[in-house]
């Protein structure tokens, strides 16, 4: 160890130097670079006659800048503010600018300066208003740049040390050739899958903007404090708030939200998040399949099939379904868990039960539809294998796994179900629409070259497919001849002497997997009667929540990859040297096909995608709510705008302040009848109101909502006092949180106890 440290002492010194210098920079105080009033802006007229207002800035040194605009924008007007420069080194100034609307008192946004900019200026344009509407415009240099630098220095040091560690292991012979091959292949595979993001821009998939807003919402909620776990995010729908954290699992989005808090731009945080997910997917898949098959190359083959499946890549880049691709990272854990439970084979690490609990928990915290589908599939598999399932030990393990998963995640699913039961959302309306037509077509499934797709059907459709390599693998498996060369395995030489031939150990498992995969594939197509099913009582909402039968392909993909890992074992399972060589050839061929298909797909995506450089979160708006499933029924995104409280005639109110979803307002009802006040908050159930300095009857939140489902408060006659409104959630929320906490503590205690016991024994 000492020798190891001595060898790389210079590198450690440089790493430490970088970290220390970045750390010192973190203590810099925020300094104001420029502060001006709107009327001080200078009009610049361009050659084409158009004009804009400008304010010169002093030299901007590298760092993260905060631009705060205080404004009083009149009705139906807006202003646009951005930080630009005349000349700079390439892309040194990164800021998109953002609009400020009527009803918005202030707006804050970030600008990133990567190299000294000496020609920077604030650029403002106005629609139906003039510079006077900007009361104050402040540019300040924050310490976020140093924090980002510190993060990069630490991450870079870890990476360098990891590389050095790997090198030392290789050089000292602690990593065999197989492990080395797997390590490098995984690294290259991650690089290949990340290919379309190896640029300084990205493109918004169909759902990316929604997930970006979730990240931003989570960041804001964390920074505002008060809610933990986050439930109601404030920034959505022009500050009205959206229950994103109630209806969607946010646990893993804490990572990109943290990156945002550190100071990374929106785009960079998202790209790092995607890279991390790809890396985690590769590691989990390889580890799980490795533990299933106990063979490096089989695990590697399965991992390649999974990581490079067209559907997964499609999710990363075309749909931008962060929830689904995140959930897919954890599906192999469930595969390994179920494999261990049913086979009774226990290797190193967690037991099958624990793996299923961890896997299902992670999937639920990522994407609820995938969790539901996985649960249904696991139930179906358990029923198919009823003989195994109802063995006492197996049944106990399965039951415990299911129960503990539910208890552990009680804090998430119970509030979700409570909210769904208490209110009517757009999701309920969508249930009537049907999802069958969104299923894939057969030609799409068999498409050999997965391109980016154009949302059409058939051959030009999006690549909602398993991939050519998987298809070829199935064909090879099904048409491997009868008697199949690999049907018999160990001892096949003795078969020639008339002795009984042992069956290939993996034959039954492959058959079972195929029997599971095929129906799920059929269910993912438009030929399966989903709309008929949706008509059955209780299933309508579930099919609506599913969104599209195509989502079943996440399960198909992981099962195909698992099939692939065992297919490799199935091929290897024989004594004949020539067959082993043939097996190796088949696996290399299939791997090359999978890699080739992926190269084609990521190339097409990179070639066709639009170029979006998103630095300023404020630039993406607030209304990208996906399919709007969890908006209050009867509302649409077009109904919203920034506004203040709206009171009925006669109601007096003042001292209004809003921080996130927390509102403080002083109201006075001098009249003799109850009057109503509408607040710019989406009227979800769970808001709490407290009247301060109350006299007489207390104000309360009404059942009926205001315009575009705004939170409505009834102020009794003669009431005067300050009202505090915040989101607390329904009554079951705290209980659910406690159940989850206790379960988690119990599991941890149990694991520690078990580990100690194992150590002692």
């Amino acid at each position: 160890m000492r020798e190891y440290l001595k060898k790389y002492v210079l590198i450690y010194f440089v790493e430490m130097l970088l970290i220390v210098s970045a750390f010192i920079g973190c203590f810099q105080k925020e300094e104001t670079v420029s502060s001006i009033k709107g009327q001080e802006l200078v009009l610049v007229t361009e050659e084409d006659g158009s004009g804009y207002y400008k304010s010169e800035l002093p030299n901007l040194s590298p760092g993260v800048y905060r631009i705060r605009v205080n404004a009083a924008i009149p009705e139906d007007a807006s202003a646009y503010v951005g930080l630009e420069c005349e000349t700079s080194t390439y892309n040194a100034l990164r800021c998109n600018g953002a609009a400020i609307f009527q009803g918005q008192d202030f707006m804050e946004m970030e600008a990133y300066v990567l190299d000294t900019v000496d020609t920077g200026f604030m650029k403002c344009t106005f629609d139906q208003t003039d510079p006077i509407s900007l009361t104050d415009l402040t540019v300040s240099r924050t310490n976020r740049g140093s924090v980002v630098f510190l993060f990069c220095a630490i991450a870079g040091s870890i990476l360098v040390n990891l590389i050095l560690w790997v090198r030392t292991r290789i050089l000292t012979g602690k990593m065999n050739t197989g492990q080395q091959t797997a390590f490098w292949m995984l690294l290259l595979s991650v690089g290949l899958v990340y290919f379309p993001f190896a640029t300084d821009y990205f493109d918004l998939g169909k759902e990316t903007a929604f997930h970006l807003l979730r990240i931003e919402g989570l960041k804001d909620t964390l920074l505002q404090g008060g809610q933990f776990p986050a439930r109601m995010q404030s920034g959505w729908l022009y500050g009205h708030g959206y229950g994103a954290s109630i209806f969607y699992g946010d646990l893993f989005l804490l990572f990109p939200a943290l990156l945002r808090i550190i100071g990374f731009s929106m785009m960079t945080a998202y790209k790092i998040f995607v890279l991390a997910v790809i890396g985690v997917t590769a590691v989990i898949t390889y580890t799980c399949f490795g533990k299933c098959t106990k063979n490096t190359y089989s695990a590697l083959f399965g991992t390649i099939l999974y990581l490079m499946s067209p559907y997964l890549i499609y999710n990363y880049y075309v749909t931008g379904e962060a929830g689904e691709f995140l959930a897919m990272a954890f599906l192999p854990l469930i595969c390994l868990g179920m494999y261990r439970i049913f086979t009774g084979i226990h290797g190193k690490g967690f037991s099958g039960k624990m793996l299923v609990i961890i896997g299902l928990t992670c999937v639920m915290q990522s994407h609820m539809p995938t969790f539901v589908l996985t649960s249904i599939l696991l139930t179906a598999v358990s029923l198919i294998l009823w003989k195994l399932t109802f063995r006492r030990e197996t049944f106990l393990q399965l039951f415990q796994a299911a129960a503990l998963t539910l208890l552990l995640n009680c804090w998430h699913w119970l509030p979700l179900l409570q909210m769904l039961g208490k209110d009517r959302y757009v999701l309920h309306d969508l249930a009537a629409n049907g999802i069958q037509s969104k299923g894939t077509q057969l030609s799409g499934l068999l498409q050999p070259f997965p391109n980016m797709g154009n949302a059409g059907n058939g051959y030009v459709a999006e690549p909602v497919i398993m991939g050519t390599a998987v298809l070829l693998m199935f064909i090879l498996y099904l048409f491997s001849g009868s008697p199949a060369p690999w049907k018999q395995s160990v001892g096949n030489k003795s078969a020639a002497h008339g002795q009984s031939t042992p069956e290939n150990r993996y034959g039954r498992l492959l058959l079972l997997l195929l029997c599971i995969i095929l129906p799920v594939i059929i269910m993912s197509t438009r030929y399966f009667p989903w709309d008929l099913l949706a008509g059955l009582p209780g299933l309508g909402l579930m099919t609506a929540a599913l969104g599209s039968p195509v989502q079943l392909l996440s399960l198909v993909t992981v099962l195909c990859a698992m099939f692939g890992a065992f297919f490799a074992m199935w091929l290897y399972e024989n004594d004949c040297h020539q067959r082993k060589i043939a097996a190796r050839g088949i696996l290399i061929f299939l791997s090359v096909t999978a890699i080739g298909g992926t190269v084609y797909q990521v190339n097409d995506i990179a070639y066709e995608r639009n170029v979006i450089r998103l630095y300023t979160a404020e630039n993406i708006g607030t209304t990208n709510v996906g399919r709007s499933e969890f908006m209050i029924s009867g509302t649409g995104t077009d109904d919203y705008s920034y506004h203040g409280p709206v009171g009925e005639e006669g109601l007096e109110y003042s001292g209004y302040s809003k921080n996130g979803v927390n509102i403080s307002i002083h109201v006075k009802n001098p009249g003799d009848s109850e009057l109503h006040l509408e607040l710019p908050l989406t009227g979800y159930k769970g808001y709490r109101l407290e009247g301060m300095g109350a006299s007489g009857n207390l104000p309360y939140i009404t059942e009926t909502r205001g315009a575009h489902a705004d939170l409505r408060i009834a102020v009794p006659a003669g009431y005067e006092g300050t009202l505090e409104i915040w989101y607390e959630g329904l009554k079951g929320f705290p209980a659910a949180e406690w159940i989850s906490l206790i379960t988690l503590a119990g599991i941890l205690v149990f694991l520690i106890y078990k580990r100690r016991k194992a150590c002692i024994s």
Binding site: T89, D115, P196, T199, Y600, N603, E608, V611
Partner: protein, 716 residues
Amino acid sequence: MVSDDTVFTGGLLTNGDQFYSGLTKTGFYIWLFESTDQLKVSASYSGEELLETGNLTITETSLLWTMLLTIILAVAAAVLCVFIYILYDRTYQIEKAKKNVFLGLSVIVILSSIPLMLGTSISGGDLIYHLHRIEGVKDGLLSGQFPVRLEPEWVHGHGYANGIFYCNSLLFFPAVLRLLGFPITASFNLYCMGLNIATALIAYVSFEKIFRSRVIGLMCSALYTLSIFRIYKLLVVVALGEGTALTFLPLILYGFYTALTGDIKDKKYKDTWIPIALGFAGLVQAHVLTTEITAVLVAILCVIVWKRVFRRETFLVLAKGAAGAALASLWYLVPFLDYYIREDIHIKYISDRTIQERGLYPAQLAFNYWKFGTNPLGGEAGMQHSHAQGLGLIFVVTFCVAAILWFSGRWKAGKNPLSGSECKADKSDMEYHIAGHPIIALGKFGTAIGGALMLMSLVIFPWDKIQAINGFTASMVSSIQFPNRLLGWGTALLTAVFGCCIWYFKNSGGKIDENEVSASEDKSPKAETGNKNFYYAGVICMLLAIAASSMYYIDYTSRDSVQLKLYNGEGMGFGYISGAEYLIEGTDEEELFYKPPVAGRDVVIGSYTKKYLHVKMECSNTGSLDSYVELPILYYTGYQAVESKTGQKLKVVSGENNVVRVLLPPGFSGSVEVQFVSPIHWRISEIISWVFIAGVILLLVFKRHKTQAAARRQVQ
């Protein structure tokens, strides 16, 4: 415009010509392959008044017959070669391996020439400029210049000094084809095919000699000749100079490899200066910028291996190589430097053009399935619909594999390449031998420099910062224009690295007997154990890369690109000079149009004739002061004006908008001839070059003769 609906398709080839104001006559060639009495000559006129036409003459030339004769001779030569080959094979039995190599190289050439067989040219950004260069050489030869210094018809007959700054020696081939009657597109395509043949051959010979394996040589030749970068530069953008320069890079690589790793006691070692000299001479005469990049890389190499460089024998070889290249190119270098130092050329002032935004993204480097693309510059448009500016996946994977091999200690002498564990540093140990082999050193150098070049081609490389350091760096960076230019050497080096990896996989675990290995025979050691799987994987990857990347790109390019059919040079006009780099600074390009001579005060011009850049005129200065005549010719140093009868030399200076101004003394009257005359030191440099080239040829012939005689003596 000439047309005829009655002749068969392709029976009449012509693009017509533009009749510019300021011209009193024009003419162009048409190719008519069938007798007709329906030939139509039409003119479209966009002027305001009526167009009054004069005489129209159609004259049959002998060019069709010279063209046909050339084709027949070429076909006959090819048939003769085939017969000789068959006869030689029957008599001496050519080795099967050699036949396979020939077949392989033929396939490479054919595949790389597919876009050239469309009968058209891809309308790349630089196509017209380079076609002008070819036409310029043709016109220059017709005007009596040799070598061609000023392209006489360019810039609307003003003459452009392109030939002085941008060497055109290799363009003599298409120019001669033009003189023989070939249409311009055909001449250009034949030249590109010639380049493909030369590249495939040079790459094969170079890599075969480096790796001493025909198979690896052929694989490297295929990868290099069909590399995305080369196809893109040569056939899509039609950066003809850069594309031509790529032909010589493997030769330089081979030259330096041999000079630095060869046995200095070997008699043949002294000849290693020849590939260096030939390579550099070719490079200098093809593309100066690539030469500059090469010079920097060579300097880095020399610093890295300075101990070897400063061995007496090696230093001598390298110095001879450099001197040889300089002597062979002296005829071009002297005028070039002369003008570059003396003239106030526009190119010296281009230093504010930033290039970083034209850099590539990492994803672009590793792109595999390139399409034609509509976005050549990147920048704000990112890589959406981008031109094929990257290296290609195969080279990036090669870099990764080599880096992994290096990183994991497999290329470290004294380590076991398979397990990575320490072996007994016994020099007889075969693994030690492989890891310490010069080819591995080449692999390491290629990986390091190839990686650095890839990095420098990226948009994240701080070119803007470097440019801002001082005037020199600003000028240097600006002249690069596109950071992806560095990928030319990147491709060559990573091709060598590919060969190194293949060589390593083939030989690790095997036995190398250096004495058994010869350049002419493929006697690479057979691997007994080790990495045969990786070797075959490498071969498959190479084939896949060519099929799925290069051929895919060629297909898309042939299908989607805009194609141009140009027959006569006049069809493309005479005005386009790309960035106007070789104009005298301050010249207004827009003002350089067909014009009559301009007489100064009191000057009367009588008769005036201008053929190319040779002007004859009768003029007189009736005033009492000096006056002048300005000619529609761009002024570069070297123009002379002489009174025909007396031989009196008149002063020639730069006039309005930098055109030739002949000063006429008061009372002068006479016949003046104005033409460009190469200075004497240019002529001396030409003679030195020709003598040197002839000497080298004689030396090579003599050496070959000597070798053959020695071989015969050995047989006897």
